[in-house]
Symmetry: C2
Subunit: 225 residues, 2 copies
């Protein structure tokens, strides 16, 4: 470990070598998503980025600061992109849900590493980005989302079998897991070709119809219409 020449990650993001630094950050993220952070050494990051380990230390100081940079410079902007347009006080519940799904799919479209990294390093027990990521989750807005759904139920607009505090989890699961599982799923269904547009249509159809209205019968058994 080198001495801490800078106290936070990203200090060098404005220097002339910021492109090379950013590329190395992206290389590190791709490796982390593929094999897990715990299984990836700084030397492997350097080799994959075709730089020396000393360069990795020059740009990111310690391994811990590299992980800070992953969250602050790559994950946190995505959280903001997903959540900032949300106004839980004003938005209609179905628009709100559809907006979150659309933006979540947009950010995964350009960051194919996101679903694996999210499942592995944030959701999983022991995930190495969990604590860092928690600091960037807009908790008030996430809580406001749950309240928005609950108000929609109280007005009789939404399926009252839905648990408002679980709905965001369900959206995340429906969008992220099939992308992380695309390769194994293709082994089960050889004719299946993963397609983000198909996933979007499927998830929106399930959620919009699943959340809207009330089930015809009060119970799950045969909620046919």
């Amino acid at each position: 470990m080198l001495n801490a020449r800078r106290s936070t990650a990203g200090r060098r993001a404005r220097t002339p070598d910021s492109d090379a630094r950013g590329q190395l950050l992206d290389t590190a993220i791709a490796l982390f998503a593929e094999r897990g952070i715990a299984n990836t050494t700084v030397a492997q990051v350097a080799a994959a980025g075709q730089v020396t380990s000393a360069m990795v230390h020059y740009w990111f100081d310690t391994r811990e600061h590299l992980l800070d940079a992953v969250v602050e410079e790559r994950l946190a902007p995505l959280f903001r992109a997903i959540w900032e347009p949300v106004d839980p006080e004003r938005d209609a519940p179905l628009e709100l849900v559809q907006g979150i799904v659309r933006r979540m799919l947009e950010v995964t479209g350009t960051r194919p590493w996101l679903p694996s990294l999210w499942l592995r390093e944030i959701i999983n027990e022991g995930g190495l980005l969990r604590e860092r990521a928690l600091r960037h989750i807009p908790i008030k807005r996430v809580q406001g989302f749950g309240q928005n759904i609950a108000r929609g139920q109280a007005r009789g607009e939404l399926n009252d079998g839905i648990e408002p505090l679980l709905l965001f989890n369900s959206i995340l699961a429906l969008v992220m897991l099939p992308q992380a599982a695309a390769r194994i799923w293709q082994r089960v269904h050889p004719t299946f070709k993963f397609d983000r547009a198909v996933l979007e249509r499927h998830v929106c159809a399930l959620l919009m119809h699943g959340i809207a209205g009330r089930p015809a019968k009060r119970r799950l058994s045969g909620a046919t219409r």
Copy 2:
């Protein structure tokens, strides 16, 4: 590594020490779910099970055979429990879905390690149980499930925005991810207490209503059939 005294895992499952062996297998699985297989050594498994590493080798021979035993003796029976009651030729689509959800929740109720292990070691790229688990997925039945849903759509009984080949993935995501994420979710929503019965009600409400019938509007960007 010891010599291969036995060629497959589980050879000793019928010997008098099978209880102790089974307990050690359960200890290993709990560790694997918590910290990942790649981050768990045989010595750590032995220590957690309060036996010597030599005993682990005596019962399971190599680390690879220990992983075989995890899949063959613990995971494969759960796959069978979930899928064997399914008859894709005869079952009505909604009953079929509800049965899968119910059985999936049943098996996770008594195996709290299952959601994490599933996400981390089967779904994830590089998951160390993926290839082994694939051999136990009843592929014909899983494919039959997709065909059953497609026939339900063709009969006009089901939401035609659903993609039949993605539906099982969605069920798995809705049931497993919130359980694996329960602890982090509680940090976001401190008032939230995870409860499997609440999850079951929520998932069934979303799925039964989401799959049934046709979307009220033709929307969702061309839900063509």
